[in-house]
Symmetry: C2
Subunit: 335 residues, 2 copies
């Protein structure tokens, strides 16, 4: 493995010049820079990460904390991860994967040991136990999700509140007068996961504003859970003609359950989902949906974190505006 001194010798300059030529932190003449680059290429030189971080520089590693808790939707999380890695690589950083295995303290460890320069935190809860840690150790971080108290933190998320409203607005515009929200598994709400709560708020607010009858029910996954919820819904809200789902794996089972009970989508029931576009598009009936832009959120988070690391100012909270895509699962009431 070639080291910086080898490159320096080959290019006929000093190691420090090589370092500067490569980092651009000091002006280097064009001729020298070219010679250095040539030497780097010929020797296949790569700057040693250990050496770099040893000397107080950044490790160029971002940590990604993904609590693999029950109730989360694996493909969405995976999409975060992939987009974060891709975006990080594009900015010359690598990604260290943290799961919940060792508790929240993984975050502290990784940064204390200098393994990572900053951390991207996912699945943020309203009162997240990791917040004090993030605030205190002044460790650069970006949250995907917005907690209750977001002062001094950098957060990115879809504007779930607006997403909830948008769905209801759409359904109300189609003439529906009774709507229900079928949400995530109960444990998600118990945990007070931020985005789930926000969606409920938006949904409820919009329903009230439009004067609609409404109901909100959490729901686990699987056909049985779907069936149970649908039955309960039809009992509680017999006038129901529209539903918003916020629970990716439940979209199909829900359509089936309604179907079995004699309500066809979209003929008898309009369905709107908040989920990644592919899920909505490939459902049994293509579902009108507000997309959860997992890939974009991941990329943005990286972008913000890297800026933060470079000392640039970053916005506090970035909420991506929801966009509703009409597919074939919604229709005017009484069509």
């Amino acid at each position: 493995m070639a080291k910086i001194t080898d490159v320096a010798r080959r290019a006929g300059v000093s190691p420090s010049t090589v370092s500067y030529a490569l980092s651009g932190k000091r002006p280097i003449s064009d001729a020298t820079r070219r010679r250095v680059q040539a030497a780097v290429r010929e020797l296949g030189y790569r700057t040693d990460g250990g050496g770099r971080s040893r000397s107080g520089a950044r490790a160029k590693v971002l940590a990604l904390a993904v609590p693999m808790r029950p109730g989360i939707h694996v493909p969405v999380v995976t999409q975060f991860a992939v987009s974060v890695v891709t975006a990080a690589r594009a900015r010359d950083h690598d990604v260290l994967l943290l799961t919940q295995g060792e508790g929240d303290e993984g975050i502290g460890r990784v940064t204390d040991t200098g393994l990572a320069d900053g951390v991207i935190v996912t699945d943020v809860q309203l009162q997240d136990p990791r917040l004090p840690l993030l605030r205190s150790c002044s460790l650069p971080s970006v949250l995907i999700g917005v907690p209750a108290e977001a002062d001094g933190l950098t957060c990115v998320d879809l504007d779930f509140r607006a997403a909830g409203e948008l769905c209801v607005d759409h359904l109300a515009g189609l003439g529906h007068r009774a709507v229900a929200l079928v949400g995530s598994p109960p444990e998600v709400y118990v945990r007070r996961t931020a985005f789930a709560r926000r969606l409920v708020e938006g949904f409820t607010a919009a329903a009230d504003r439009h004067g609609l009858a409404s109901a909100v029910l959490p729901c686990g996954t699987g056909r049985d859970a779907a069936r149970t919820v649908v039955e309960r819904l039809l009992r509680d809200l017999p006038a129901l003609t529209a539903v918003v789902v916020h629970n990716e794996p439940l979209v199909d089972p829900l359509i089936e359950a309604f179907d079995e009970l004699g309500m066809r989508v979209p003929g008898d029931l309009s369905l709107t989902a908040v989920c990644p576009a592919p899920v909505a598009a490939s459902a049994r009936v293509p579902v009108t949906s507000v997309a959860v832009p997992a890939a974009e959120l991941g990329a943005r988070a990286v972008h913000l974190l890297v800026r933060k690391l470079s000392g640039a100012p970053v916005p506090g909270t970035t909420l991506l505006p929801p966009r509703l895509t009409e597919r074939s699962s919604t229709a005017p009431r009484g069509r």
Copy 2:
């Protein structure tokens, strides 16, 4: 952030003694070790990763290469990732996530730069382009999957060949005389992904051995693909009474497709799957299956890699024996 010298001062010993007390690489008296440990605790000391790897020691980081190619099943890959992280943490290592974004050369980069000490490679193909790299740079690695030429490599995998045979044996034992294998999407075979091929081999060999009529069809995902494959299957092999599926997201659609064409599972058709246990158990009809032990494979891979890093000898190829779990999707022929 406390450094090793602080600990040393506090414990009244030299930094080297602290290092030895912590690593155990030289005998240290009990009294001293205790004092050091106390100092570490009081100061909240954590050994700096940069410093460690700078001095030629290991970074205690494993890279995990997960090519997120089309046709792979995301939850399985995620399970690998989670189990790898968990197992790595249990052995005091962290995990760097590599995706295919930057091509195969990510592996080289990560180890050249000393960021990671070794790499776990997933989704191995029979002729994997990453193999030369792994062989040449003598970089410690473990493959999850077995390529065509496995000499000098450390591999772990489910014994897919035996899994294929096991499924057929089971079906033959139930009296079925015509079996089909519905496999992964075509691109997986084109890519010559190792495990997919091996399963086909085992399936075919066993079918021939039992003198069964057999067919093998790749299949994409989604209800339409399932429907098409089923129709084709019933045309090609009208006597068909048993099917092996090796395509996680297709299990349910396949059952539905057969159902729509008048073949009930297990009354008219016995179905066996090769997939993670949860998928099999929560299908529309609980499916008799050979489990893909993703979590165990991940943990084993870590185990092997860590051993390898410590210089211990490791076996070349570890094939986990398949285990078939009977559920309600298989029945004797003509029940």
